[in-house]
């Protein structure tokens, strides 16, 4: 029940976007609006996924960790949609141009890098993969923080003049990163 509701909640932004697209209420440039929205929701859920272990530890609330994988997979789903729409609307599936964009433009490179990391993490999130990776699974999945750093810079590079949103995301991302680093240090000194 809770699991179904969780998935529904995570799908909700996508459903609203799909409805807005169909009813033509995304404004004058719906392609761009959709790319921005899928990007921002990738970011939102990425922050949620990183917030879950913090909340779980602080409030002794292990049950929330059961949903971490579900949220993580949705992060990848939104990221993939974001990337696919960019490929389709902005590059017209021209993979030569994609290669040029990746080498020429740091924001595309960082976005692509973040997506690759998320793809690697999503594909190693199946039960057999977790089993097979064993003790290496955990260090591999701390790369989600590298994806976060890429995403933060990716967003900061989009600024033309107004910096309020990207900086807010960078600040929250930085907080979560600091908490993780503090915990890593604590784990090291404890041993």
């Amino acid at each position: 029940m809770i699991r179904t509701l969780t998935h529904l909640g995570l799908a909700l932004p996508a459903l609203v976007m799909a409805y807005a697209w169909r009813s033509q209420s995304l404004g004058v440039d719906p392609q761009k609006a959709l790319i921005l929205e899928t990007g921002i929701w990738t970011f939102n859920l990425l922050l949620v996924v990183l917030f879950l272990p913090v909340a779980s530890r602080w409030a002794h609330w292990p049950v929330v960790l059961k949903y971490r994988r579900a949220v993580g997979l949705w992060v990848f789903a939104y990221a993939t949609t974001h990337f696919t729409l960019f490929l389709s609307f902005y590059l017209g599936w021209d993979f030569v141009r994609l290669a040029e964009e990746i080498t020429d433009r740091p924001y595309v490179l960082l976005g692509f890098g973040a997506w690759l990391i998320l793809a690697a993490l999503a594909s190693t999130s199946t039960r057999p993969a977790i089993k097979k990776l064993g003790r290496r699974w955990k260090p591999l999945h701390t790369f989600v923080y590298l994806a976060l750093v890429c995403a933060v810079i990716h967003y900061l590079l989009m600024i033309r003049s107004d910096w309020s949103w990207p900086v807010a995301y960078a600040a929250i991302g930085l907080c979560l990163l600091m908490l993780r680093l503090r915990r890593a240090r604590w784990l090291r000194t404890r041993n």
Binding site: A20, S23, Q24, S25, L26, G27, V28, D29, P30, Q31, K32, A33, E37, I40, N44, V48, F51, A55, W58, A59, H60, W61, F89, G92, R97, E100, E101, D104, R105, P106, Y107, L157, M158, R160, S161, D162, W163, S164, I172
Partner: protein, 317 residues
Amino acid sequence: MNRITDQNAYRRRRLIAGALGLGALGTFGALRYGDGTVSAEQADKDAAPGSDEPTVSDKTGERLTHKFAATHYNNAYEFGWDKTDPVEKSGGFELKPWQVTFDGLCGKPGTFDLDELMGMPFSQLEERVYDFRCVEAWSMVIPYNGRSLRDILSVVQPLGSAKYVAFTSILRPEQMPGQASSFSTLDWPYVEALTIEEAMNPLTFATFGVYGDQNLPQNGMPFRITVPWKYGFKSPKFVVRITFTEERPEATWHKENSREYGWYSNVYPDISHPRWSQATERRIWSETEVERIPSRPYNGFADQVAHLYPGDQKQYR
């Protein structure tokens, strides 16, 4: 602390953590969608009649971008950074009275009312259809109402020593929320500038309306300059002062980031913006139709303006 209070403390923490997460999402939703960024009602209310039909200029027969699209998707950072801010936040902007001051190196400096600058009734002004090409790689085809800027400039008699013309936009933070915003890094008022040859080119258009409509602050009315072979930000909006100078004036976006926004900023498809390609543009025809098309040197006006830029194009980027 005994086990019961321990449990209570954790229960409280769970509430706090849950509230923090939901609160963050709620705040996000209110800030991002609360002002109607994605608003179906807005689109329905203002939708142009017959909005699936292509619109065509009465005078030239050219296909135009729908007025709804051209008036609901604008960059006017004076009102805010979002494309819908100009239409949504310009309600309090007073278009009248409007005066323009001419000063600097000219024989007859002075201040003129808008009617004097038009020199004829608004309805008799020329209509010109130009492709508006934004530096962000989208474009729209827009009918502009006005007259060649040089007809106005020649009245105030620029001196031979005048090499450049600076255009200063209005500073009115009480009516322009983007100017009042502490999040904006731009230095207000907005200033753009052209060389005297560019300003006197017959293509450069003193603009008093678009789509036959003078009441569109989101499009820079009541008075803007349209320079069709350059990226859109080189076409200053809400102009109140025109200054002739010998030294090259600083321009707002160039000052903000000269690497990304060149002083000349002619449309050169071969020269990329550092963050994206300028080889193609997304032509916005309406809310439902966007077409990707190749961009053209000087936005299609190479015949008429390329001679102004001898030598390597890079120096005029």
